[in-house]
Amino acid sequence: MIEFLLLLIFAVFFGLLLHGIHRKVIARIQKRPGPPFWQEILHTLKFSFKQTWIPRTASQVMYVAIVLIAIGIWTAALYVFCIGGSLLLIFAFYMLHKIVEHGTGLSSGSPYTKFGAIRSVMSAAAELPLLVTVSVVYLFTGTLSISGIAGWEAANVPLIGIALPAAVSLYLIILSKAHYGPFSVIEAKELVSGYWTEHFGGWRALLNIALSLKTFVLISVFIVVFIGVLPWWLFLIVMILVMVSVSFICATTPMLTPYNTVLIQTIWTGVVCLYGVIVWVVMIS
């Protein structure tokens, strides 16, 4: 248990560092100096000590509970990842994150956050390829436990080579949840900060912590499921590389309209479904 708590603290700080790297890379590509790498850590510490309250228009219980739920589900997801549990559970936690986005937006009573919440429902299109991803991973490895998948890869080949469309689907999920990304319609600038505009002070610090855990867990799952178990130092380097590649996409593409977001993700779902059917037919025959 102590080991998990230490890992939890490390994951929070490393996730915040990844967010800082994300902002820095975007800024440098766009020829701006950008904030230092550790800015998100400073932000979170600063918000933790700011005066905070609950807006009068907010649903009081929901406003607070949703923050705690966000931290709860990603702490649980990290635990499932650590014990090499089921990939389905990780994706179930990911689906619960949709409730967090929706609840955070609706609980405050602000029109900006409500728009963000409604857009989070539309962005559910990004989750469709995940179902095919799970199926393809199972078809190849015969298991859905993360430790089982890692064991299969150690004995055979990394899945990224033979299940590239499935890997791209999970990569797309990481991209769609990244700040300032082309799919980040739920926190677009015309909505101020989108679904979490009205969560400030300590609430924002806690949401920052939850989102840093989310980034850490999603990138870790991507690496273990599609590349395999790596030495810890190489694992951290690959995590940074994945984050930098996501930042590169965010820096060079405009934010899509909600319509285009759904369109691209639906087309990709079709491609991955086709790939899944081909794999299934080949495996059966």
């Binding site: 800024a27 991209l175 082309p182 369109l263 691209i264």
Partner: protein, 63 residues
């Protein structure tokens, strides 16, 4: 660039990604091409979708 140019780029990056993924089993250095081609593919697809639209021609830089 025009929309067809972005679509062509997307197809090229997709081909590069598939080839590098297949060859990466034999020689891990092909992963380097994979790391470049997958984001390249996604960027091309996104820019193809937004090309010709009022806001989509120039990447949004005002973060």
């Amino acid at each position: 660039m025009k929309k067809p140019a972005y679509i062509l780029l997307a197809v090229l990056f997709a081909c590069a990604a598939v080839i590098s993924a297949v060859l990466a089993d034999g020689n891990p250095y092909w992963v380097l091409l994979l790391i470049v081609s997958v984001p390249g593919f996604l960027i091309s697809v996104i820019l193809a979708c937004t090309a010709g639209s009022k806001d989509g021609d120039i990447p949004f830089v005002g973060y």
